[in-house]
Every structure is written in structure tokens, then in C-alpha cells.
């Protein structure tokens, strides 16, 4: 993702990738335990702040990336708003039954989906996959066998997309008609793509084994990744912001709407 657009490096790029990942996972679990609507909205705002101003991308690109988010918000919340359980009826038409409870809950899970999406996009935009795997090897002791194969596989993605295009073109040239059957249509794309990818993966793996990429004892690394002041900065941003948000919601007694 981060190779698509040019951006300037911010402090988020310099944070340790493993730490970033762990904090994100913690936030994910934390968000699931939030049951007050107002705190959920504040939570989303804290993350939106980081996403909008912290990633170092131009606003044009940020807004471009924001468009699908609106769609996520709508699609996640609508089915809960329209069909959720509840007592206080606001609107009723055929099977559609909007209640106060379902409306609140719908907005709540919409916010949740939105904040998760922004969190992970912030991560994806500010982390280089290679640095992430080097960091996982060094800080979290991930076996190099897995880390290097993941890195090799990431490099294969563009090749595979190109190959899919080639397969489609080849089929067009040979006059393969568009199948109406979903499974047949998937089959004629999937079989060539998978078989070619397996062959290529096998060749690469043999080469990697020959070069001892699977050896794990006493490795040295090209990129040495450690910790810096930015890591403290990153952790304290969430700590301080959430404390403020929590105090704010307590102070104004706005935790009435529970989900």
C-alpha cells in the first residue's frame, strides 16, 4: 500500500512495527469492550485524528481513501438499524422496523467498523512490510523460515496479478466465452493461476532452501530494528487521548446510551 503514493516520513513511520502491531491488537480488543455510544464516538475521533494528520500523505489521497469508509459505515449499520431488536418504535414499514435501540446500536457498530478500518489503514500506510518482518524476527522471535517466505510471497503479488491479466487475455484471444455459471467462471481463472503459482513458488522455495534461508541459528540481519523515543510517543498518544476522552464522557454524564 505504502508504495502506491509518495509521502513524507512522519514519526509514525519510525515507530517500531512490532510495537505498533501489538498496540493495534490491544486497541481492537479494547474497542470490543466499549459499550457506551458516546465513548465509542470519541474513540473513533481519536483514531481519525491520527489517520488524518499523522500519516504524512497529502489530503487528496487521504480523502480518496476515505470514500470506501463511508460505505463501510453505511453497510455495517444499515442492517442493524433496519432489522435489529428493540422496544421503542421510531418507524415501521413491512419488515423494516426501526427502533431507538437498534438505531443506537447500528451507529455504534458503524463507528466500530470505521475506527477499525482507519486504524489498520494507518498501520498499512506507515509500515513497510519488509521492516515489519525484520522487526518480528528480531523483537518477537518469529522463525526466519516464516518471515522470509512471507517477504518472498509479498514480492510475488504483482507478478501474480500480471499473470492473471495474461491468462484473461489469452482466454479472450482463444475465444473462451464468458460463462454464466459462477463456479465455472471461477474455475477457468483459478486453475491456471493456482497451478502456475504453485510451480513458481516451488522453484523459489528450492532456491531459498539452497541458500539456507530456513536456518535459524545465529543469524545476522541487514536491517537492525530497535526502539526509539517515537515508540513512547505512540503509546502515550493513545493512553493520554483515551484518558481525556473517558474523563470527558464521565464529566458530562453522557454515558446514558448503552449498547
Amino acid at each position: 500500500m505504502n508504495t502506491f503514493f509518495n509521502c513524507k516520513e512522519t514519526w509514525l513511520h519510525k515507530t517500531n512495527p512490532s510495537l505498533k502491531l501489538i498496540i493495534l491488537l490491544c486497541l481492537f480488543v479494547f474497542a470490543i469492550t466499549i459499550h457506551q455510544l458516546h465513548f465509542m464516538i470519541l474513540f473513533t475521533l481519536v483514531i481519525a485524528l491520527l489517520f488524518l494528520f499523522g500519516t504524512g500523505y497529502s489530503y487528496k489521497h487521504i480523502f480518496l481513501l476515505l470514500i470506501p469508509f463511508l460505505f463501510i459505515f453505511l453497510s455495517t449499520s444499515t442492517s442493524m438499524i433496519l432489522f435489529g431488536k428493540g422496544e421503542t418504535t421510531l418507524f415501521k414499514w413491512a419488515y423494516v422496523h426501526i427502533t431507538k435501540e437498534s438505531l443506537i446500536r447500528g451507529i455504534h457498530i458503524g463507528c466500530r467498523a470505521l475506527s477499525f478500518a482507519m486504524l489498520s489503514l494507518t498501520f498499512a500506510l506507515t509500515t513497510q512490510p519488509v521492516k515489519l518482518f525484520y522487526s518480528l524476527m528480531q523483537q518477537l522471535k518469529l522463525s526466519p523460515k516464516y518471515a522470509y517466505t512471507f517477504m518472498a510471497a509479498i514480492r510475488l503479488i504483482p507478478i501474480m496479478i500480471e499473470e492473471l491479466q495474461t491468462i484473461r487475455n489469452a482466454q479472450k484471444v482463444r475465444g473462451v466465452q464468458g460463462q454464466r455459471n459462477l463456479f465455472k467462471r471461477m474455475n477457468i481463472l483459478m486453475i491456471p493461476l493456482l497451478s502456475q503459482s504453485i510451480r513458481r513458488a516451488h522453484r523459489i522455495a528450492v532456491a531459498m532452501e539452497a541458500k539456507r534461508f530456513d536456518a535459524s541459528k545465529k543469524r545476522t540481519f541487514f536491517y537492525e530494528i530497535g526502539f526509539s523515543k517515537f515508540d513512547i510517543f505512540f503509546a502515550s498518544y493513545f493512553l493520554i487521548m483515551f484518558t481525556v476522552a473517558y474523563l470527558f464522557s464521565i464529566h458530562f454524564h453522557i454515558s446514558r446510551y448503552r449498547c
Partner: protein, 193 residues
């Protein structure tokens, strides 16, 4: 005949998952197009998300492959900046684990449609558990919830079970599976003949 995962197995598993990831991206718009209707028609194709696990297992036939495939598929999606983001990673781990448990229960020795369908159902159950925590799915009204569960279950059996088995059969015909599958007892006997 080693049962441990070699580098080759890992790379092939990951590449298969990424192959599926690319196919998912093509089908993504379809998922979006039907989602906002609220009638859960999208759940019918939800089963595709577990497919990487069973296909990879059927091709490589070693312990741990189903779990690894799901993790790889989800982290690939995550690193490419999927809108579903980090939750994909958690879903991947849980779904892979649930599929793996079923395959483990049969000691990784059965590769027929029945066991694979069971694994599909199990992975589907795993995704439900997370949905109940995350999306308050249990609070949908009853008819809507039943529709939701039924559609997802049907979808996962069709895609992760039936379709995965049929795809592997076709792949076997192309001969690529011979590259990666551990040599069986029959192969050794053929050598001694």
C-alpha cells in the same frame, strides 16, 4: 516422510492463499454490491473466505497448513490495506484454528468431501463466535438472524467444502500437486519394484 512444514510447504501455502486473495479482490465488488440490502445475501459468498484453508490443506496434506493458509490470506489482505483491516487478521486466526481442529480430529488422514465439509462448518462456527462479540449479530430479529446463519452455512459448505474438493481434483489432473505433496508409501514401493 516428514510431517513438519518445510520452507517449500510454507511458501506454497502462502502463495496459494495470496492467489485466493487476488480472486477475492475481483469478487469484492460483488460482495459490496449485495451487502447494504440488509437481507444477508452477501453471506452466501462468505464461505469463500475460508476456502484458502481447505484448498491448501488438500494440496499439501500436512498438519498446520490450514491455519497457516488462513493467517497468510488475512495478513496479505491486511498489509494491502484492506478496509476490513485488522479484524481480518483475528478472523483469519480463529477460522483457521477451527478448521484445523476438525482436520486434526481425523489425524490429517482423511481428504474426502465429508471431512472437508466438516472443517468448513467448523470454520464457519468460528466466524460466528467473533461476529457475536463484535457485531451484536445476536440482536438481529429472529427471522433475520436465521437467514444470516443459514446463508453463511450454505455458502461455506458449497465453497469451502464442495468447491475446494473439486478444485483440488482439477489441480491434481494438471500434475502440480506432485511437486509439493509428501511422498506416500505407495511411491516408495514403486521405487523398490
Amino acid at each position: 516422510m516428514s510431517k513438519r512444514l518445510k520452507l517449500t510447504d510454507i511458501l506454497v501455502t502462502i502463495v496459494i492463499s495470496i492467489g485466493f486473495g487476488i480472486i477475492y479482490k475481483i469478487w469484492g465488488p460483488l460482495y459490496y454490491a449485495v451487502k447494504p440490502l440488509g437481507l444477508h445475501i452477501d453471506q452466501l459468498i462468505y464461505g469463500m473466505w475460508f476456502m484458502a484453508a481447505t484448498v491448501a490443506f488438500l494440496i499439501i496434506r500436512k498438519p498446520g497448513v490450514a491455519l497457516l493458509a488462513e493467517i497468510a490470506a488475512s495478513s496479505g489482505e491486511f498489509l494491502m490495506g484492506s478496509e476490513f483491516g485488522l479484524e481480518v487478521l483475528l478472523y483469519g486466526v480463529v477460522q483457521g484454528l477451527f478448521a484445523e481442529i476438525v482436520l486434526m480430529a481425523f489425524r490429517y488422514k482423511r481428504f474426502d468431501l465429508f471431512v472437508i465439509s466438516l472443517a468448513a462448518i467448523s470454520a464457519c462456527a468460528g466466524s460466528f463466535i467473533l461476529d457475536f462479540y463484535k457485531g451484536y449479530v445476536g440482536d438481529l430479529s429472529t427471522w433475520n438472524l436465521i437467514l444470516f446463519i443459514a446463508f453463511r452455512l450454505i455458502g461455506s459448505i458449497v465453497f469451502t467444502g464442495v468447491f475446494a474438493v473439486s478444485i483440488t481434483k482439477t489441480l491434481e489432473a494438471t500434475g502440480v500437486t506432485k511437486l509439493v505433496r509428501p511422498s506416500s508409501k505407495k511411491d516408495y514401493e514403486a521405487l523398490n519394484r
